[in-house]
């Protein structure tokens, strides 16, 4: 909707020459409605971002005076193996989270979009994790996975008694699992909405032509969900760049540096080590990478992203 409104505004300003007086007046009133959103964005988005950019060129311990440093922070960040490890981990979590979350969310979304009563009931259960904060989920999983007082030790299930959060390799997969557990419901909700938007008539036509459920899924549901998939993937990818709260509470970046993702690296440098300069440089890096990835995913949607998928209906 916002895109459409913005498009119209832009179109009316373009030197097309044919835009009527009446149309300009109408679009003007629509642009006015964006002011609150823009004001919030400038205040809470753009201003802190510019502040962070400025800080990345300074030396500041968070307590004393801010001193201009120039590019020193950027040099130190770009030559720091800890940063590259964090970057690698962030991409690892991003890719694995996407690979795990997308199929599960898609199938759950399609399943819960059905009209049967039991599906609606199950949907409520699936969406329960949405009600919990990341910190609460982390604390709960931390207690469950504790090798000495956790679920496995209490019930005496030997297979589950693993050093889940203490093994440098295993811990990464635990983090991806918990992240998925937390975010799959949200993405399922997106897909559920997407599936419900697909006209029934398409499925009716397909079944008349003899297409089975599986064929319908791949030939109708999946193509029709193209933009939902892109939206969901964008949120997952950008979300992985900024994943912080859950990992901070669950592992604190440990053991060693094995879950020290980029956002956590930024926090630890800034607020634990009192080095706001390098921390700000990492923050800017996160913004740039996130923006690049989001633009890339948007490009996957094709040049004519706003064209109709329902021609002929």
């Amino acid at each position: 909707m916002t895109t459409t409104a913005a498009t119209r505004t832009a179109a009316s300003r373009a030197p097309a020459g044919g835009a009527s007086e009446h149309r300009s007046v109408k679009t003007g009133s629509v642009a006015w409605m964006a002011i609150p959103a823009v004001a919030f964005f400038v205040l809470f988005g753009a201003v802190p971002l510019i502040g962070t950019l400025v800080l990345s060129f300074t030396q500041w311990d968070g307590i004393g005076a801010i001193q201009w440093l120039g590019g020193g922070n950027w040099v130190s960040i770009m030559t720091d193996p800890v940063m590259y490890k964090a970057l690698g981990l962030t991409f690892g979590i991003m890719i694995f989270s996407w690979l795990v979350q997308t199929p599960i969310s898609l199938l759950l979304g399609v399943f819960t979009a059905g009209t049967q009563k039991y599906r609606a009931f199950l949907a409520v259960l699936y969406f329960l994790p949405l009600l919990m904060s990341a910190a609460a989920i982390s604390i709960a999983y931390k207690a469950l996975l504790d090798p000495n007082f956790g679920l496995a030790a209490s019930l005496g299930i030997p297979f589950l008694i693993q050093n889940w959060l203490g093994d440098p390799t295993l811990v990464l997969f635990v983090v991806i699992f918990v992240l998925s557990w937390m975010y799959v419901p949200f993405h399922s909700l997106l897909y559920q909405g997407g599936v419900q938007q697909i006209p029934r008539s398409m499925y009716e036509a397909a079944s008349i032509d003899g297409a089975g459920t599986v064929r319908q899924f791949f030939s109708i549901t999946l193509p029709q969900l193209k933009y939902t998939i892109i939206t969901s993937s964008t949120l997952m990818v950008v979300g992985s760049m900024t994943a912080f709260d859950l990992i901070f509470v669950l592992t604190g970046g440990g053991p060693g540096n094995s879950t020290r993702v980029l956002a956590l690296d930024m926090y630890l440098r800034g607020f634990r080590a009192n080095q706001m300069g390098p921390a700000s440089a990492i923050a800017v890096l996160i913004v740039l990478i996130g923006l690049g990835l989001a633009l890339f995913l948007r490009r996957l949607g094709g040049k004519d992203a706003n064209s109709s998928q329902m021609e002929g209906l």
Binding site: T2, A14, G45, D61, K142, P147, T242, R272, A273
Partner: protein
């Protein structure tokens, strides 16, 4: 659609996308600048009292402080002090952020050392030297505790509460079960590791995720192997002080202990804030634990029967064969330190001074000292030998009090003694050292790089 519309559409799409993508990122950056840790009413220098204080949550000291401030408020209704409680790790971050933002409470609670020095360097805490011209106030606590509250010869904090030395606790029940005695040398301790493993008992509890818990081990290994000179050189900023052969030997011994299975499985993910490490000891899951003397009162609080039945034992960190350190040396925090914010108004400063000097309802009143002693903590008030001798915890307190008094060297906790940025690098490297992801040499190289920064 004509060509111009299409291109305009492309621009606007990007504009929209920029907003979409940047909003959560900037939001994250913003939220990182705001509060971290549990926020509570009253934040900043305000609160509903005439002066404000932030303090650590956790019993028994949370209750002692609450009662003390209530008594103070009742006696001085115009000079009340409001208090907010925070978890240890969250507090350390929050107080720094608040001070940087000019929103600090009147009273700034710290562990002295490098962190206090950074506050003093930034002019955020008051120079209290003139307050201690008052001999009664100066002499109210043990003289040796002033060192970590003094920066460049000026006193910036009043040492109060309790000393926290680090010592071994052990589970007497489990020691009896395998027929073991407390170790008198480090070699005996290593032998005990095998004994307990053989009996299916985890030898040592450690809350590795908190990192400063692992650091306590290094403090003693460095001291017992090379004496206090090794860390003194690091503290003084001597080049390459971390690659001293004694330091490398101590680092290697830590990794050997990890490889020998000395620490309980999963220690890397245990946090001290949840007291899970203490629980391992009193639920008979582990035999030993190296921890601060404050833990005694914590265990007494959480597992009263365990202490009452005489199952909790303690011993000093044993000497290491061939080591240069005096086995009487101890590590820990000499006291807690209370500073006054330089942003405090004159009225708030007067309240602070009165709160420090009042012996009836003040910070180190008779009631408070009695409460610390009764809870089994090593109070640093002078002349309290009689109180300790009369305490039901006199065995532990006399052991700890005399250990503090007789120690030729008291090593202040490294993460408190060093500057915050060095301390964070240290803790991060300790975490990697204990998870065996770096070698002792890499540890020394990484830490040498922080010297002189």
């Amino acid at each position: 659609m004509d060509a111009s519309t299409t291109s305009a559409q492309g621009t606007s799409r990007r504009g929209f996308l920029t907003m979409l993508a940047m909003a959560p990122l900037a939001g994250a950056a913003l939220s990182a600048c705001g509060t971290s840790g549990p926020s509570s009413s009253g934040g900043g220098g305000g609160g509903d009292g005439a002066a404000s204080m932030w303090y650590l949550s956790g019993q028994p000291n949370e209750k002692i402080k609450t009662d003390n401030l209530k008594a103070w408020g009742d006696a001085n209704p115009d000079s009340t002090i409001s208090v907010d409680f925070f978890q240890n790790d969250a507090y350390k971050t929050k107080i720094k952020t608040a001070i940087g933002a000019g929103q600090a409470p009147t009273f700034i609670y710290s562990w002295g050392g490098g962190t206090l020095a950074s506050y003093a360097a930034a002019g955020q805490v008051l120079d209290l030297t003139s307050w201690f011209d008052d001999a009664t106030l100066k002499g109210s606590v043990l003289e040796s505790t002033y060192k970590a509250g003094t920066v460049d010869g000026k006193i910036y904090a009043y040492p109060n509460e309790n000393a926290a030395l680090i010592l071994f606790y052990y589970n007497k029940k489990l020691f009896k079960q395998v027929g073991a005695e407390p170790p008198t040398t480090y070699d005996e301790l290593l032998a005990l590791v095998d004994t307990f493993k053989g009996a299916g008992i985890a030898p040592i509890a450690l809350a590795g995720q908190s990192r400063w818990t692992s650091m306590m081990w290094l403090e003693y290994f460095f001291d017992r192997v090379g004496g206090p000179e090794v860390f003194d050189a690091i503290f003084a900023g001597t080049a390459d002080a971390w690659s001293n052969p004694d330091a490398l030997k101590a680092l290697q011994m830590v990794q050997d202990l990890v490889k020998a299975g000395g620490f309980i499985t999963g220690f890397e993910s245990i946090t001290a804030d949840s007291n899970a490490d203490q629980a391992l000891l009193y639920t008979d899951k582990t035999a030993m634990m190296l921890h601060g003397s404050w833990v005694y009162s914590g265990i007494k609080n959480d597992a009263a029967d365990f202490v009452a039945d005489g199952n909790l034992g303690w011993f000093a960190f044993p000497p290491i064969t061939g080591g240069k350190g005096d086995p009487k040396n101890v590590a820990g925090n000499p006291a807690q330190y209370m500073s006054v914010s330089s942003k405090a108004t004159q009225a708030q400063q007067d309240i602070a001074k009165a709160y420090f000097t009042d012996t009836t309802n003040g910070i180190m009143s008779e009631t408070v000292i009695d409460a610390y002693v009764a809870s089994g903590q090593v109070c640093i008030a002078s002349g309290i030998e009689d109180k300790i001798a009369a305490s039901e915890d006199k065995d532990f307190l006399q052991f700890a009090y005399s250990a503090v008094q007789d120690a030729p060297s008291f090593v202040q906790s490294w993460d408190q003694a060093l500057s915050p940025s060095t301390a964070e690098a240290l803790l991060s490297n300790i975490d990697q050292l204990f998870s065996l992801s770096i070698t002792p040499q890499q540890f020394a190289d990484n830490m040498n790089a922080t010297i002189g920064q």
